[in-house]
Assembly symmetry: C2
Homo-oligomer: 453 residues x 2
């Protein structure tokens, strides 16, 4: 890959030089040789002011395709500098789902101005799509698919694919509908290839149809496509009429984005809409301050707990020095468990009904892990400093903390699910804060009893 | 989705009842109606002892396909109870990549016994595939694809697809090779559909070939397929000969698994090989104890730091009560930053060269966030307890801690990348431990100066 990257960078440098020297003719020819995804990558790498100039040199058809590969930021930048007519031409060329992606974050008046110039059909479709809830199947589907009729033969089906194939997002799975656009069957091109040319579609189509409604969450769509290894999944409205399809390449992005969202939530942040480098300082700060404040205030509880044990650590200040280790280990042990459960639930590997099994497993793991950690500490304290009783207090506190941390860590995400919250919020930071207070109470009580403070 | 799930559960219950009552005939008929992925899901849900019995009722062709959808645990369970001949028949039916998946975790002698009964071609291929490094393109590719020749016409290509299509993993992208199996071009079935039947492949194939070598990491393969929206990607050996293809449905799983691996590493665990509920207590404990020990021992450093400030907190025990809040907030602030950078690097949105930009952004965010957190604390301490000077100490310590935590949080993953470690290890737990010690040093020094301790 190292060579690949170097080669790619050489091409980028060469193209940028052409753009900066205004050799647009040569640039246009070189861009035509590139894959559209690579051309988009080049446009992204250009200085902001060169982007519209270079984009305008592209011929119409690849221009729309390349546009669909650009980041939201670049798309908006372009739409803001080109005329509404130019923008509407790109929108007309795009598949509906890509057009909606490009438009949905723009101010309503800009969208209105652009749509005024698009074709009536496009406008109607886009308006319909813009109304589907965020992250629903409707919002990520596309309306360009190949539909067939039951009474067609295989060879008529091939003809139809040739006719509408150019404008379809995928031609490889075709959908058989009746006069009311109700979905009756599904057939893959592979199946068509392996069938007799004269065979009627009715006899060879698959009638065990797996479809989703427009309102289904895109995460569930991703799970279905991944479970069945589909290239596309049909989307139907409430009357079971086929309104669109979702293709696997969009799902690849959904899986990435959903994982990123979960990871951000698990690190106590509100999910961001754009890549890090394209997110402003104010927005980053806003996404982070909420949970930092909540957690900071919660951590004050642990402070109060320590306050009540002042007399103990004034008698034996040594006890204070074990606080960081106990708190960190409890936090780490708890977040290991919560992370595994949150991820397992996200992948549908763990369900609410497994709560008992999960807890029993975590208790056994934590006894084992806690014992080893406690033992290491006891040995260190006894043989290095000769602290027999203190060593026992620390070791015992560690063991109990780890068991409680892991129990809380595995149960809280399940509880969140039960209460219909997103389990991802029950991750490391919140678990750590909860475990902190509990571990301090345990620690000082164990110390009081064993050391007679 | 609620209805869907209920419906699915009814079907599962009905099928399980048939299996338990040994009505294998009826069961076989009902299973035949199901999608193979659903049939596999049913087999997974069966009690362990019923699994082989029910599996044996399946006809040969769907049996292999359903087998490929089973979890590794169930696959191994089956292979252990059926004869080597039966197993080899399934292996013969499977695509090479699925066969390799089923075999690679089995003991070598079991694999040998099974392979002895498979066809010579299958055996050779599987042995070759088993030798590719873990997580490489070679280890996830499949050898079943449609290859074409330059001099064929479109209609000859269609004929070839009809001929070999049944055994290919995908027919939708065809690969054009020369006599030495060297890759010369790529053509999609969609393109074939839109071309004249008499056109020679040479004239319409795409010669701007994007391929990977067998040794490339599967994560990079996933990135390429997702970048170019490919349905499949050709894999070549060192002599640029086509040896296999990787299809998008396998990539969907790779993306999921890589995200899970990253999430586990970020929570200080060694990545697990199997789903949580199928992982034993000992293995879970083993995956977790390593980092817990490392982090526990590191946290002792913070303990030593506190030890050196004993005289300060003996004079003013109140200072101890702010330790949890300072440590937790520092940890949370730092892990927010490290999480964003680790994820950004995993998605190739952030590169080493962006280090300066990233640091500058984090410093501004942390000044903003740290100021707010400090202010909230100062107000609370001043107006609730009347602690003016102490409030200032805590607020200032918080501000400095947050700035340092976020700087360390964003730089450590980049440093790990530079030193060719996995950035994911520089996540919350390790960052927290580093920030802990630093924040305590800052806090007590600020206290000493401002409070004159």
């Amino acid at each position: 890959m190292a060579n690949e990257t170097a080669k790619e960078e050489n091409i980028l440098d060469e193209l940028t030089a052409l753009a900066e020297n205004k050799e647009y003719r040569a640039l246009k020819d070189r861009l035509a040789e590139l894959n559209n995804a690579d051309a988009a990558e080049f446009l992204e790498s250009l200085p902001a002011k060169l982007l519209p100039v270079v984009f305008r040199t592209l011929p119409k058809a690849p221009a729309a395709e390349i546009f669909s590969y650009l980041s939201q930021t670049s798309q908006e930048r372009l739409i803001n500098v080109i005329t509404a007519e130019e923008a509407s031409k790109i929108i007309d060329e795009l598949n509906v789902d890509d057009a909606v992606d490009a438009l949905e974050e723009l101010p309503a008046n800009v969208v209105k101005k652009i749509l005024r110039h698009t074709e009536a059909d496009t406008r109607r479709l886009i308006n319909q799509f813009l109304n589907y809830p965020d992250d629903s199947a409707g919002s990520i589907m596309t309306a360009e698919f190949v539909d067939l009729r039951q009474e067609m033969t295989v060879s008529q089906a091939f003809e139809r694919i040739r006719g509408v194939g150019l404008d379809s997002e995928t031609v490889y799975t075709c959908y058989v509908t009746d006069n009311n656009r109700r979905l009756e069957g599904v057939i893959t091109v592979r199946r068509l290839f392996l069938s007799d040319l004269a065979a009627p579609i009715k006899d060879i189509m698959d009638t065990d149809i797996i479809s989703v409604q427009t309102t289904v969450d895109r995460e569930d769509v991703a799970k279905m496509i991944s479970k069945y290894d589909f290239l596309s999944l049909p989307v139907v409205d409430q009357e079971e009429r086929l309104v669109g399809i979702i293709t696997v390449d969009d799902i690849v992005d959904v899986i990435r984005e959903e994982a990123t969202e979960d990871i951000e939530k698990m690190a106590a942040m509100l999910p961001s809409q754009r890549p890090y480098l394209q997110t402003g300082v104010l927005e980053l700060a806003k996404n982070r301050i909420v949970w930092l404040l909540v957690l900071m205030i919660s951590a004050m509880i642990t402070g109060h707990v320590l306050d009540t044990f002042q007399s103990s650590f004034l008698v034996m200040p040594l006890l204070v020095t074990f606080i960081p280790m106990l708190m960190d280990t409890g936090g780490n042990a708890g977040s290991q468990s919560s992370t595994m459960i949150i991820r397992g639930m996200a992948l549908s590997e763990i369900k609410l009904a497994d709560a008992g099994k999960v807890l029993w497993k975590e208790i056994r793991v934590s006894l084992l892990v806690g014992f080893i950690l406690g033992l290491v500490n006891f040995i260190r304290l006894y043989f290095t400093y000769g602290y027999g009783m203190v060593g026992l207090v620390v070791a015992l506190s560690l063991l109990v903390t780890v068991v409680i941390a892991k129990s809380i860590g595995c149960l809280m995400p399940l509880l969140a699910q039960l209460l219909r919250f997103d389990p991802a919020i029950m991750a490391a930071p919140l678990i750590t804060t909860m475990v902190d207070a509990i571990s301090m109470i345990l620690y000082f009580n164990i110390a009081r009893v064993l050391l007679g403070l």
